[in-house]
Point group: C2
Chain length 347, copies 2
Amino acid sequence: MASRAKATILDIAREAGVSKSTVSLVLQGSGLIRPETATRVRKAIEDVGYVYNRGAANLRKAHSNVIGMVINDLTNPFFAELAVGMERVFQAAGVVPFIANTAENPVRQEEVLKSLMEQGVAGLIVSPARGTTPGAFRRIEAAGVPIVFTMRRLPESRIPVIAPDNHRGAVLATEHLIRRGHRRLAFFGGSSDLIVYHQRLGGFIEACETLGIPASDRLIVEGETSRKGGMACLETALAAAQPPTAALCFNDAVAFGVMLALRKRGFEAGADFAVVGFDDVAEAEHYSPALTSVAVNTAGLGERAAHVMLKMIQSRTTRAEDHIGAVSLVVRESSGPDRNSQVGDAA
Amino acid sequence: MASRAKATILDIAREAGVSKSTVSLVLQGSGLIRPETATRVRKAIEDVGYVYNRGAANLRKAHSNVIGMVINDLTNPFFAELAVGMERVFQAAGVVPFIANTAENPVRQEEVLKSLMEQGVAGLIVSPARGTTPGAFRRIEAAGVPIVFTMRRLPESRIPVIAPDNHRGAVLATEHLIRRGHRRLAFFGGSSDLIVYHQRLGGFIEACETLGIPASDRLIVEGETSRKGGMACLETALAAAQPPTAALCFNDAVAFGVMLALRKRGFEAGADFAVVGFDDVAEAEHYSPALTSVAVNTAGLGERAAHVMLKMIQSRTTRAEDHIGAVSLVVRESSGPDRNSQVGDAA
DNA sequence: CGCTATAAATGGAACGTTCCAATAAATCAA
DNA sequence: TTGATTTATTGGAACGTTCCATTTATAGCG
């Protein structure tokens, strides 16, 4: 049963009494082969326990059917949701995506990209790790392998990006907080080496200025984009002379951390302090209190990225249009009105 | 800059004025090459934008440095944690793991395995999808590719398994609930086509029998292993004539669902109904109320699985010992005493 | 029957590496 | 100097596939 050396098409050919070329044609589903012959060959394939060697095949025909998905933080459920959206599209196209995690580490990212390239991937969908150097993808571009960035972009690069409208999302969320009567606002989490950070923070600031919140009433606290980071942000903010009464968080993970820290201090998110997240991961709806968040249609973005990639491969181009996905604010319990304010805006 | 046809070692050889063999040796870091020659070759490699073709190389030297990780549900943070543990080990060994998601679908799993095999992986770490047929891995075994199962096993297979002590974990959790005075107990979630289910349920039943809870006071509700499944389980249970006062859940996702459903009905987990989860995902500690759960040392299991795999590859064997990881119960807030019971056991 | 047209199957070169055996150059011992 | 040894380098065959150009078999037609 266990064959010593692995079988090749030559073994199949011998077994079925045909030539290797015939076997190859059967493998490719060519109509040139007489059905009975094809059946015989397929039986032989089963009998010898043949495994197709894609590496050998790629040697002749160039690109493969594998696409690499390089993700900066697999433990963030947001990225798992994104991956699921992509997989749906790829599966339908008969493409298998291989996922690799960089754990937000540019060195690891380098290794992962190298390995994927050596494997001969047809394309790469990447959410770059923080601190990725601008030149990190030059080699890959030069090799003519299509790349699509998701969620994050790099400073000066012509690689297409699929991302939500971060600026608009932050504006929506900030306006919401201000309409609820909050006058001292904070922006929690993230760090300025991320373009996404500037986009979201920019929306926050713009909304503040439009609606008359002066810079002196705004508090900006950078921090890790994790629960732990969120907890730290809240502690920092509460230590201020005039602490904020509401915060827009860089993402939902930070928001969960903030809510946790509030509870530890005996406060309740929504009643004592308003919290708004960003991304609207599945958990947001099921948290206690339920988290108000900016919904970015995560799975939809994943699908979009996959479609763009397939199109690029098909038309063998390395460029494509950016896609900025629409966002919406999902208001739940965590963003109640300021208790000292008369304004009881329901929306 | 963008080279038309991709460069090969022959191009490098021409560029550096050496033979292809020399280039190959440099690529492999052989000490046989004079340092100055090596430097010259390395420069040429940079200049022509060379990408190593692992497929071609594998044609000669058999096994590659890629390992496939096949996971049945990437959106369950538990598996992300498991993956992270594995990656730590593999990275140190210079191996790149490619992760593929089967979304609990045996057909998809088949495709994914096929693709991984065609790619020539050195080994496979698999958490099999529910409903996997016993023969699904026979071809792979026959091909001599080492496989390690994690978390789940298949009915009749000699493939090594790395998993927590599910039976013991369930016993610990159930004893805990009974000591807290609960006399009507439920087991929520999971389905009987999973061996893990029988292990955990078996522990539950054993503890009940040992401590004198009759079958008539036990309620077993199968269900999806997700939040939604947990919510449904609770609804079913509360509709019973003599509803339980405590439940051991198949995993943490189910437990979160149960707690959510409790809250929707105005009950509080821990005070009105005791809930215990299984797996102890990171979120359990940060939930409200914090979830009592059976800790399985997820990342540790991942590391262990990776180590076993590396050992198997190294010693080119296809067998290895099973590993049953120790478990412990982490008591938090969700598993308070039965309110009608006098027993106030603190442990 | 001979001829062409079509269908089915085939041999061989090529793809980009590795590795063995062989060569060439440098060093050493006598 | 010569042969032996060591150090660097090299050509060529092999790996398992694809695909082009052929060959062989089958059918069609007058």
